[in-house]
Amino acid sequence: MKVSSSNFKSNARQALDDKQLQSALNHVRNNFISKRSKARLDLPEFDALRDNARAIKDHTLEHLDFYLEHYERKVVESGGKVHWAADAVEARGIIMDICRKTNAKTVTKGKSMISEEISLNEFLAANSIIPVETDLGEYIIQLRGENPSHIIAPAVHLNIDQVRDEFRKAHTHLSPNRPMNEPETLLGEAREILRGKFLTAELGITGANFLVAETGSSLIVTNEGNGDLTQILPRVHVVLASIDKIVPTLEDLAQITRVLARSATGQEITVYSTLSTGPRRKEDEDGPEEYHVVLLDNGRSSMLGTEFSEMLRCIRCGACMNHCPVYQAVGGHAYGWVYPGPMGAVLTPSLIGVDKAGHLPNASTFCGRCEAVCPMRIPLPKMMRSWREREFEQHLVPPAHRKNLALWAWLAKHRRLYRLTTGLAARILAIRGGLSKRINKLPMAEGWTKHRILPAPEGATFMKLYRRRLRKGR
């Protein structure tokens, strides 16, 4: 996927002006938050489970090399194959190789963010293999030639009219006058078309929510059942997963899945949680004949042991973006790469470099809600601050910003001058605000006031009030 993270500012500006997008984002604002909060209240052990999930993942990361080796051994014992890929190029090459050996023409796909990370669809298509996304949201955005805007609800930026238009354009074999008003009929149409693909594809690619070292199993969770049809119907099943997906045992898996669905959609458990271990057995009458795992590093092993190591605990639940005021305002596409929201603001610079990720670590109000809801207790704001510092140190901050910051720093060090300036500024703003006490436009801060109204300051600065109170002896 092309990276446009360095355009965050202009992307965000466009997003704020996009009326359709803004109405679609209401679904994020209204839905996810209340559902998670209810699920949390329904399980008194929720926070204790979060602590345990965090401890399990920390332990796993500290022993990652040995867990990976154990996992590999178990996959091989069950008749599967593990392919290690250092980066995106290698992972794509491995998959292409398996496709060739399978003689695959159509490949069905379960939702996988790693597949987005390595731009697999573009690559397969360029090699004359048709990739078919089967998650409804992924299917819709694939038709539109878009990337997901949310890690668990990829089409959350769209409304039903856009889906209808897309289906009308794509499904030309159906009558143009068919009824298409209800979401149910649209889903039925997609189900019908994708059923055909499931039954003809030679190879299915899924991601993995977790890899279990104890048994060499991959676990996927879906509500639609598309991931399951992707892995049981074609002759070959390929699991594409990054090395941080490992958990030690089935018990550890159960601990973490208890917080996953609740944090993501507010469900107690996703409809389908499926453990797959190797290819079909001698006695089986269905299931894939070959089982491959592509284990991708792509920069993760270098994150270990750094201040960003804790990011590897992430289980991709999406809670941090659902609760993020910046994400809620601009949606996922503005972030310009695969991973949006606070987790993206930390992960993107780690994986593709802080120079390319540009403004992302600044796409935060530092309100701290992301950390408060993260089931794996990842200190996202702290890590965003670390990236900001690195960005500044590496002189990646635009010169105008640097100058303003330097000026402010100088001013802040000179107490009296600082108070004088801020006091003056407050008075000017109060006058500008006039009777309405509102400021719609502010020179040098148009970016800020374009989409918000700045309340004009009333009365004195904090320091003035403070001194006045001290004098009154209160």
Partner: protein, 228 residues
């Protein structure tokens, strides 16, 4: 150096940087083997510390909360009759696909028995009947294991899926099912597929509106055999 060696070496190198107390690779390897061997249970929600009978009611409540239906019957004979009744109620043909699970031979029928198709599904079946390995009361989840007894395709291809569960196999938590699976399949082993199913398939990808019946079944009916 292969990518495998390269990645493992990098991980070891990165981990060494952060170690405050020195732990040798051998010690770390032992810690891994010990955890896998002991597979410690973590926190188990207290909600399922119930009597056997209440565990069953809790299970059924959770099944219903997942948008599936749940019926308790006394015997396999009655379970068959319940299947027939369910098919009639939903205006479905008396034609079902099943696997070779021996327990299904005990199903009893009233009047004309339904026509049974045996073996995996090719996507043409309206109704499939499977036998669950376990049920988890905590969330109303059914644990299905692959094999000719209950082929995995039966869980996903039909529009209507009927799952039977023997109350003897009802567990409190997922952890209890893992223990039972280990007993049955051996240490560190699983059948090709273990499906944990909680409700019929669904999608909320169009404007976050929840719609039942995505790629898997639209309707899920659970029949628990509570043999006294």
């Amino acid at each position: 150096m292969s990518s495998r060696e390269q990645i493992l070496k990098k991980i070891k190198g990165s981990l060494r940087k952060t170690q405050t107390v020195h732990t040798s690779d051998e010690q770390r390897n032992q810690a891994v083997l010990a955890r896998i061997n002991q597979h410690p249970r973590g926190i188990i929600p207290a909600r399922t510390s119930l009597s056997r009978q209440d565990l069953l009611y809790h299970f059924c409540e959770k099944v219903k909360a997942s948008e599936a239906s749940c019926k308790i019957v006394e015997s396999y004979e009655k379970a068959g009759i319940e299947i027939q009744k369910f098919l009639r109620q939903h205006n479905l043909p008396q034609l079902v696909r099943i696997g070779t699970d021996q327990r299904l031979n005990k199903l009893g029928w009233e009047n004309e028995p339904p026509q049974l198709l045996i073996g995996p599904s090719d996507g043409q079946d309206l109704v499939c009947v499977s036998h669950a390995q376990y049920g988890v009361s905590e969330t109303g989840t059914l644990v299905m294991t692959s094999g000719p007894e209950n082929p995995t395709t039966l869980n996903f291809l039909p529009e209507t899926h009927i799952i039977l569960l023997n109350k003897k196999n009802l567990q409190e938590s997922y952890e209890d099912s893992w223990a039972a699976l280990r007993q049955r399949y051996g240490k560190e082993k699983l059948p090709r597929t273990v499906n944990m199913i909680t409700g019929p398939s669904r999608s909320a990808d169009i404007e976050q509106t929840l719609i039942l019946g995505a790629h898997g079944p639209l309707r899920l009916h659970v029949i628990v055999i509570d043999g006294k």
